[in-house]
């Protein structure tokens, strides 16, 4: 969970990019790293623990500092999980302490079973960590919209955004940086909104 450090005046927030293998999670982080406009020193290195064939083995990690609010620095730590089914234990480790999730789905028709399976896997992993998706801000990004075999957005909404509460969703072409900042800014807004609500005065 987010760390509020009154002594160092910092709010630290963890956002995890989740989704099926080869869906574009790492590409999202690479694009944020390459294109984000920050003051000098506010963007950390992008660290990738990957296999020799550039598949994520453990996680990718990108720390970025956003705005300062009333003297508090807000630091965002962006993680990806490995999408391949066999790395489920690793996904559970990365999810520990998560504050917000960007679910990156692959828009290709033949990837729909993997999208649904990955979303189901997210729910199960959160349950194993005694967390509940209903209480965690998340957004959906339907990536690879540029491919000819991309399913309609409405179909993806029906498959993945059909829970009690619908969440914000974005079409994306991550390798062209389309949808990347839209998703990141939305999850950031949702997280800050959550903290504002939590920090509102409680009256007995």
């Amino acid at each position: 969970m987010a760390i509020i450090n009154q002594a160092t005046k910092e709010l630290q927030v963890k956002v995890v990019y989740y989704g099926p293998a080869m869906g574009g999670k790492t590409t999202n982080l690479v694009q944020v790293h390459d294109h984000v406009q920050t003051a000098a020193g506010n963007k950390g290195k992008l660290v990738s623990l990957a296999t020799s064939s550039d598949r994520t083995l453990f996680f990718d990690f990108l720390p970025i500092e956003a705005m300062t609010i009333k003297g508090f620095k807000t630091k965002f730590q962006l993680y990806t999980v490995p999408g391949q089914v066999i790395y489920n234990t690793t996904r559970q480790l990365v999810l520990r302490g998560v504050d917000g999730i960007v679910f990156v789905a692959d828009s290709q028709y033949e990837k729909m079973p993997e999208n649904v399976e990955s979303f189901q896997n997210l729910l199960e992993n959160l349950t194993s960590l005694r967390m509940n998706l209903a209480e965690i801000p998340y957004v959906l990004q339907y990536n690879k919209r540029d491919l000819p075999n991309a399913a309609p957005m409405e179909y993806m909404e029906f498959l993945l955004n059909n829970r009690d509460v619908q969440v914000p969703s974005f079409g994306g072409t991550a390798h062209k940086c389309e949808g990347v900042f839209e998703s990141l800014n939305m999850i950031t807004r949702m997280l800050l909104q959550k903290f504002i609500n939590q920090s509102a005065p409680q009256y007995a």
Binding site: V36, K70, Q77
Partner: protein
């Protein structure tokens, strides 16, 4: 899921004091208190050019990976991990449910002395975290100034 308590200045000062004592006793280069989610909470020592944010994220991942291996080999707990290098050593030890102590030290120091003094430091830090947990921090985190509907305040693309 239980969370780390809000830490006030007094907490951090006391934890820093414990880390400074530990560094002096164990001749450690730098000692970090991190959250198991990968956040750096505080540190003491000569960090120099070290990227402590990334070290915290990787150290928590490495420690938790070892915890998972412990489960797979039916060991109840591996409560510390140690990496021996030619010039530098890395020691990670569990503090409590939420936090870890990460120590970077010169290889000539030897892990024995680090481990010995770390156990006392861990107890002091755990006590302070328990105090923070028991406290009801009256002051909330006031974000009311931020207009979250305004995307200009958030991340911008070059």
């Amino acid at each position: 899921m239980a969370t780390l308590p809000q830490l006030i200045e007094e907490d951090i000062q006391r934890i820093d004091a414990s880390l400074n004592d530990f560094n002096a006793q164990a001749d450690a280069t730098v000692a970090l208190v991190i959250d198991k989610g990968g956040f750096l909470i505080t540190h003491a020592g000569q960090a120099g050019e070290l990227d402590l944010t990334t070290i915290a994220a990787l150290a928590s991942g490495a420690f938790l990976a070892n915890q998972t291996i412990a489960g797979l080999v039916n060991e109840e707990n591996f409560n510390c991990t140690y990496q021996q290098g030619e010039r530098t050593g890395l020691f990670i030890v569990n503090i409590d449910e939420h936090c870890l102590l990460v120590v970077i030290f010169k290889a000539v120091t030897g892990v024995g002395v680090v481990k010995y003094y770390a156990s006392a430091a861990v107890q002091k830090i755990a006590r302070q975290l328990a105090v923070a947990q028991a406290r009801e921090p009256g002051k909330g985190f006031d974000l009311s100034e931020l207009n979250v509907a305004d995307p200009q305040n958030l991340f911008r693309r070059k």
